[in-house]
């Protein structure tokens, strides 16, 4: 609904929008600024927005103290892997529900969402035992499976709503041309739903990247992602805010960059069927 505005209103809107955006962003900015301070000046009173003795020491120490590349790589594998696997399973399901809806399709969708309602802590020991028996503790594969299943309902829901927006006539036409079911999906539907698939993928990578309960419970060393990396810098003895900020910045930077480049896509695609 973007419309032309008078210069004066545009200025006011710009100022207001920037103010609000900066307020929302401020905690993140503050964290990043803190990561360049020494520990004592991180808690100095009154707080300094910019400190005179800014330093890269925190980053150097965080880098030296733990194997960041390994945590990073595990995060990438787990979040991307679980999302891709989820898409492979969800695309056909969402397609079928969108184009061959039955009476129970809506209920089925709600049921899928309801599988996310069990509080994680309540199933911690049961799931841990299950993973242990299956030999999946501290494996990337195990986490990929767990996070995929956790986010599958969201993936299906998002895809379903995109697919529903694709007009049925296009399908009729392709069927006339003798396309098979799979053909329909691959050659007709997928290109049309690509923006939707892309934003589904992005959202789920973010959700998986930020998951900080199961990724810590189910890993030790080999599969531990950045959430475990963060947990090794939070609340030790002594001052730690600057180092924790540096570690946090290193953990969120990759996903922030991804978000940066895909911001348009994310904004356009995140409809959840919210738009008719």
């Amino acid at each position: 609904m973007a419309r032309a505005l008078s210069p004066r209103r545009k200025l006011i809107s710009t100022l207001a929008a920037w103010t609000v955006a900066l307020i929302i962003f401020f905690p993140v900015l503050w964290m990043i600024l803190t990561s360049f301070k020494t520990e004592p000046s991180a808690v100095a009173m009154p707080p300094q927005l910019f400190t005179a003795d800014w330093t890269l020491e925190n980053y150097a120490e965080v880098w030296a103290r733990s194997d960041y590349p390994r945590f990073f790589w595990n995060s990438v594998v787990i979040s991307v892997g679980s999302t891709l696997l989820g898409l492979v399973i969800a695309i056909p399901a969402a397609w079928a529900m969108a184009f061959v809806p039955g009476k129970k399709t809506k209920d089925l969708l709600m049921w899928m969402l309801s599988t996310k309602m069990m509080p994680a802590v309540a199933v911690m020991i049961p799931l841990y035992l299950l993973f242990q028996r299956l030999g999946l503790i501290d494996t990337k594969f195990g986490l990929v499976i767990a996070l995929m299943l956790m986010n599958l309902p969201i993936i299906i829901w998002m895809l379903y709503t995109y697919f529903k927006e694709i007009p049925g006539e296009i399908l009729e036409a392709s069927r006339m041309d003798g396309a098979t079911l799979w053909g329909e999906i691959i050659y007709v539907l997928t290109p049309m739903a690509l923006p939707g698939i892309a934003s589904t993928m992005l959202l789920n990578i973010i959700l998986a990247w930020n998951e900080a309960f199961w990724t810590i419970v189910l890993t030790t060393t080999k599969a531990a992602p950045l959430s475990a990396f963060i947990a090794s810098f939070s609340a030790p003895q002594g001052l730690f805010y600057a180092k924790l900020s540096a570690a946090s910045a290193m953990a969120i930077l990759p996903i922030l960059i991804l978000g940066w480049f895909s911001q348009k896509q994310l904004v356009r695609g995140l409809t959840f069927g919210a738009v008719k």
Partner: protein, 290 residues
């Protein structure tokens, strides 16, 4: 357009998801149900046995239970109200053709990229802390006493932190809805002399109903299970002032290592979640119909 064969094919395509999710739901649920009737404490493995409904009774008779129930609903409700209202306002604001729109949006989405434990830790230590927090510095610079957020307003503080985390999600979805609104309709209304408020009330808001419904639905599911932010900031306290049902379960599972009770709490939480979902669907379900 569906024929017999396409129906069959559709079933086959839905089947993997359904089967996987069914296993993912049934197996932990069955195990949790089983443990909820058992005495099972991790640190006393020799004392086990069936205890009937004792674990459930413990939960329901616990002095914290009803408060925790209330706090859970307050957390979900509070965060929903804040994120939806602010989300609409922010979406309206950044939908306008302002300078640096792309950069602006990334700033607004940024909290979504911060891991929840980090977000909670930042808020607790760098903002809400009574001596070293930024807020207390601001209060002092005006000559006021710093507000003891986590001691006197623990639940509000937690709601505030969680709202900050989820605001970007709500804003994004609402923004997308807003962008699909045709500007002709609004311009026509403006020509007819409709005030800004009535344009919002009668054109923009109805158009966003579906988006708001989606925000509420998805967020509720995530918010019902939140405990990490509470653990990092208030530990459910002071006392049990900010204890929610998931946090109560967390305490039984992690501190007391009482898996039986944690399981019973989990089953209670699932029942609660389903009640909430039922009312949500009754209240909002028709918004999702086409």
């Amino acid at each position: 357009m569906s024929t017999q064969s396409s129906r069959l094919a559709a079933r086959a395509m839905v089947a993997p998801s359904v089967v996987l999710l069914l296993i993912w739901m049934i197996v932990p649920l069955a195990m949790t149900l089983y443990y909820s009737f058992r005495l099972y404490r991790l640190l006393s493995p020799d004392r086990t046995g069936w205890v009937g409904f004792n674990n459930y009774l413990w939960f329901i008779n616990s002095p914290d239970f009803w408060l925790a129930l209330f706090n859970t609903l307050a957390l979900v409700g509070g965060v929903l109200i804040i994120t939806v209202v602010l989300g609409i306002l922010i979406a309206l604001l950044i939908d306008q053709p302002v300078k640096g729109q792309g950069f602006l949006r990334i700033l607004v989405i940024a909290p979504f990229f911060v891991m929840p434990p980090v977000a909670a830790s930042i808020w607790e230590n760098l903002f809400l802390h009574p001596q070293n927090g930024l807020f207390s510095a601001v209060a002092r610079s005006f000559g006021a006493q710093p507000i003891l957020f986590l001691e006197n307003y623990p639940m509000l503080s937690v709601i505030g932190i969680v709202s900050w985390e989820w605001l970007p999600f709500a804003t994004l979805i609402l923004l997308t809805a807003l962008q699909s609104l045709s500007s002709e309709q609004l311009e026509a209304a403006e020509m007819d002399g409709a005030s800004a408020f009535s344009r919002f009330r009668y054109i923009i808001l109805p158009h966003m109903t579906r988006a708001i419904t989606v925000v509420i639905l998805i967020q509720t599911i995530f918010l019902l299970g939140i405990f990490g932010e509470i653990f990092t900031t208030t530990q459910g306290g002071p006392g049990s002032a900010s204890t929610t049902l998931p946090y109560m379960i967390f305490k039984q599972a992690i501190a007391a290592k009482d898996i039986g009770r944690a399981a019973a709490g989990g089953i209670i939480a699932v029942i609660l979640a389903n009640i909430v979902a039922y009312f949500l669907m009754r209240g909002l379900g028709r918004n999702l119909e086409n």
